[in-house]
Assembly symmetry: C2
């Protein structure tokens, strides 16, 4: 006998054989219902509601009696009000007549995940580590199988997982774990190949961390691998900073000291361990619950973190030790999470263009875009720039320096509560107003904003605003002649502009912008600008259709400010977007969707690396780009703004 | 043009194209010449001698001029006298005419290895870890390949090795290693799959250790993986002895103490580390030169060494955590050899029949024997017994106790210098003579032999001899009435027989055999006898064609003594052989020939395990077997010896 079964809200319908469960029917009709316990009436996830009555549209009479009677397990799992509302477990309910079933939101299988760290991104939910619940047959004298074989057989029978190996440390506890809840266990399996963790009973909690290890800043994202949800993010200064501010000084440190490599390695590993324990503690977990970490970084940080000899990265021909993506046990790196956890290292592209740029690419996917010529700038101590589309993609890297991350700026700080993230200067009064991270309100003179310093997005605003207000000229030189108390000379006789007076600041000191700060930003923005222009020349284009600004900033960079200082060539302002930490988003994407690892491997192999710093006219072009916004190039998109600047011709 | 090329002493001949090297010619004609450097004129192993003159038999005129001129590399590598004797390097010498070549012994490729630890055994030389020498192309700005890729490409081009991975710790030093000797390296590759070590230049030294971890004794064999030669053997008491003398007491220790498992694990690992550093030091190596270890042990020791929960091994249904063979990194076990070294664990058979018995089987290969019914006894604290042939093979294990390894025997000791290994008692005078390990000479009363104690083979002789001399009767009871000063009562009034008086011993004490010693040996031999008889019943045979006695003894067990005490059922004495530590030999075989690992896996799966201790008549049969040689069963093969025993009817 066959009966009509209809699933709502999807509207999927068809004939299903008598005696099949609603769960089986849902599979046959292409409806995804969650059943993580493998239909063992344990997890209660496959809850559905039986709609009763005659449905004219479908010509069926849906009745409770058309289904098998309520089981003991359902009585235990379903709440009283759910029972009165005709909820059932799809796995426990057998079809004996026509029925119309409503599948509530929470029972529908999540097959995609929405990242909302900066820009909203949608990915497939398909983590490399998955949990599988199985019930094994108990060992007897007649059944000589060992514990592992028993687990492997169950995973094969229930999920078709074949040829599974087991990590040594997961094996050690196996005999105890499988007997703790009567031969029922949940196995965490990496790449459907290796059992890396086994927990007693039905355990659906397993977690991963995506980490973007910048030269200056480390950003980490703890994610639930079951739901794809990012639970918490955290960050810190890269502890390697004490051994050198930029990658070359760290490589030099490693070369000049016998234990240099170990110290660089140990310090960042210690940092990661701090982040892992701090983040898990905040959400009521332990580091042992973390079964995977994805890592992105530039190539030098890649070597320094992994303790690979970095010395040959610092000299031509800049060959890395390894560039393919690879997996290593957390314990081999000294990372204190689950003992059998996996660390996935994203691929290196070429030279100093590392996994962090690959990560930006898999987050932004310019290779899926057909016509538009897109410029992607990832701002960090090493800036990475990509240009192109699905036809051709070029990349380069440039020595931006840490200015845009707050280092080398007198009152610079990383994006953290207390940092100025937005800033405006009135061109008439030369008064400054600003907004601080953690506070929605704008502050100005006489309003205590408790600012402690200024972070990346604030720094870009600050330079753009002093330029727009005529406080600095086209060459970046401060104007001593303006009528305001805010421009003054410091103890060394150098000019500075007071952003916030001590009585309004959070540090009992005036917060100022110095001539040195302006110079540091000029060097940084010039490096980015020239990199972009050189890629345009190589691609043979003279116009950019779209600009995407990425970086680990507190808030999004202001697109107008960034173009006014000349950080990149002219582009329609409405096509300039800041997306937050795209490298961090890519690390999460690779954590939650193993398909992204394949994409990363492919794009790393196909993107063409251009060594722009060796171009014959690099120095000349660099000097031209030091001016605000540029000595030679025109910026039609912001000409109306430039025209209003006092003294700008 | 083609020329006649003849290789001696193999006599292989054929036409070879002009311009090909002698090495290439040898491959074409099926002659194996050593060329570990891959024909790079580096290693000097492919030395051959050019025979000159007209060879009537072959109709060729072999001349030096028929080959390309001597190269600079050959002048450097070949000695002056070799040059005058027309030696050349086969890889550097090109064919330009007819030649007759003699390949000296040392240039022929070793494809088999002869183990000579006890019995001479011949295996194929095919270790799981092999060394490959390659010369890479140097990194340039135009060639963006990373270091690993460069190495992988070279290994693929030269040796056809594809899809090679690299162990993380081998990767760390790769950039330095490949640049140290101008992009020439030797890679150690595990299973032709994973690069586990890379050394600068041409390095053909790599080593492995086969280890037999007995309940009481650990035996280790350091082997050269290049030549297959065993360089040194060493042994020690199993340091776990302090936590329990037998497997059940160790399992109990692990269960009753929170850190019990860790202590058991740590102590044996420390022992292995001691052995590895002691052995390598003695032959001028370091533990870092050791790239692989094979481990055999009984199943309980398997769990205790690997720190797998052993508790369920001690109770029905005796399920092990894992039984398949597996590989684990030395570093994960805490074994201090090469950081990336592999530990290969041989498979468990069933219950207490562990990898040590599998190891005996691959050493002795009874499964390759067609007709003869063979009994294999591996004597240890746990005795393992196999019976059968290629048609069917049964196995069982029995609780022998450590008596035959020297424990529980008043003056027992392990096989080491100073231990009595052979012993005779004159039935007329009741005087004892003996031989000590490390001394060829036989000693008796008045001859200082410096014996410190008595080891396994000596213990079996000792019991057989006191029985044959009538010092003990059929039931094992000592006879107080014999006329000799050697039989006396100890301080507790118990009878004992003095083997060696204090003035002749090496410990300033009389060395004696006590009534307790006799009882301990009776329990051990009875367990082995009953195990063998039960297997005979299961196999349906009443006669054994061949007996092989294995065990980690100082010298071979005397076949007559072992049958006189009734250690196994009657068998033609000429068909009883002692083979030394076959389990240790199997561990070496698996180290030197990876094909043996497949054989081990297959035999572990096919041998049928019989739980003899649960048979209904076990206790009764055990009691009968306590007598010398047996209470009921006849021993026609040694009846003539038994007939001469005073008081034996």
């Amino acid at each position: 006998m066959e009966y009509n079964v209809i699933f709502q809200p999807s509207g999927r319908r068809g004939k299903v054989e008598e005696g099949k469960s609603l769960l089986t029917a849902s599979h046959e009709l292409g409806v995804d219902i969650e059943a993580p316990c493998g239909a063992h009436k344990v997890c209660g996830k496959c809850k559905v509601k039986i709609e009763t009555g005659f449905f004219e549209k479908f010509g069926i009479d849906s009745k409770i009696e058309n289904l098998s009677p309520l089981t003991e397990e359902e009585k235990k799992i379903l709440k009283a009000e759910e029972l009165t509302e005709n909820y059932r477990l799809a796995c426990a309910t057998l079809i004996q007549g026509d029925v119309l079933i409503f599948v509530p939101e929470e029972s529908r299988k999540a097959d995609q995940v929405v990242l909302d760290t900066g820009k909203e991104r949608v990915f497939k939910l398909d983590p490399a580590v998955k949990n599988y619940y199985v019930e094994m047959t108990k060992a007897t004298l007649d059944d000589h199988r060992d514990d592992l074989q028993r687990l492997q057989d169950a995973l094969k029978a229930e999920f078709g997982l074949d040829n599974l190996s087991i990590d040594y440390f997961a094996l050690r506890e196996l005999p105890n774990v499988i007997r703790e809840q009567d031969w029922k266990v949940t196995a965490s399996v990496l790449y459907d190949r290796e059992i890396i963790d086994v927990k007693p009973g039905f355990a659906q909690k397993w977690y991963g961390i995506g980490i973007d290890v910048g030269t200056t800043t480390v950003a980490a994202y703890l994610c639930d691998l079951k739901t794809g949800q990012m639970l918490i993010k955290d960050g810190m200064m890269n502890p390697q900073v004490r051994y050198g501010e930029d990658v070359l000084s760290r490589i030099t440190y490693a070369m000049m000291n016998d234990d240099g490599r170990d110290k660089l390695h140990d310090s960042i590993i210690e940092g990661i361990n701090t982040l892992a324990s701090r983040m898990t503690e905040k959400v009521g977990l332990t580091p042992n619950d973390v079964v995977e970490i994805t890592l992105v970084f530039n190539t030098a940080m890649h070597h320094c973190l992994l303790n690979l000899e970095p010395k040959f990265m610092g000299r031509a021909p800049f060959a890395p030790a390894i560039s393919v993506p690879f997996d290593v046990k957390a314990r081999d790196l000294g990372i204190n999470i689950n003992k059998s956890a996996n660390i996935h290292v994203l691929p290196v592209e070429a030279g100093f263009v590392g996994p962090d740029n690959v990560s930006v690419l898999i987050a932004e996917e310019p290779y899926k875009q057909d016509e538009e010529v897109r410029l992607l700038i990832d701002i960090g101590t090493n800036g990475e720039i990509d240009l192109g589309n699905s036809k051709k993609l070029l990349s380069t890297s440039c020595a931006t320096g840490p200015a845009l991350e707050g280092a080398q700026i007198k009152f610079g700080m990383r994006a953290a509560p207390g940092a100025i993230e937005k800033l405006r200067i009135d061109p008439e009064t030369l008064e400054c107003t600003y907004r601080v991270i953690g506070d929605e309100k704008w502050h100005g003179r006489g309003s205590k904003g408790n600012a402690k310093g200024i972070c990346g997005s604030g720094i870009i605003d600050m330079v753009a605003e002093v330029f727009k207000a005529g406080i600095i000229n086209k060459t970046g030189k401060m104007n001593a002649k303006l009528e305001t108390d805010r421009i003054r000379r410091d103890e060394n006789g150098k000019l500075e502009y007071v952003l916030i007076y001590a009585e309004d600041s959070g540090i009992d000191k005036d917060i100022t912008v110095t001539q040195g700060d302006i110079r540091a930003v000029q060097l940084a923005k010039s490096a980015l600008y020239v990199g972009a222009k050189m890629l345009m020349r190589h691609l043979g284009v003279d116009k950019i259709d779209r600009v995407t600004l990425a970086g680990a900033f507190g808030s999004f960079i202001d697109q107008e400010s960034s173009m006014v200082i000349g950080m990149f060539p002219d582009c329609d302002l409405s096509k300039v977007h800041a997306v937050g930490n795209a490298a961090g988003d890519g690390a999460q994407a690779a954590l939650l969707d193993q398909g992204k690892r394949i994409e990363a491997r492919d794009v790393a192999a196909s993107v063409e690396f251009i060594e722009t710093a060796v171009e014959h006219d690099f120095q000349e072009r660099f000097a031209e780009a030091m001016a605000f916004p540029h000595q030679v190039d025109a910026f039609p998109s912001i000409q109306h703004i430039l025209d209003k600047i006092p003294g700008y011709k």
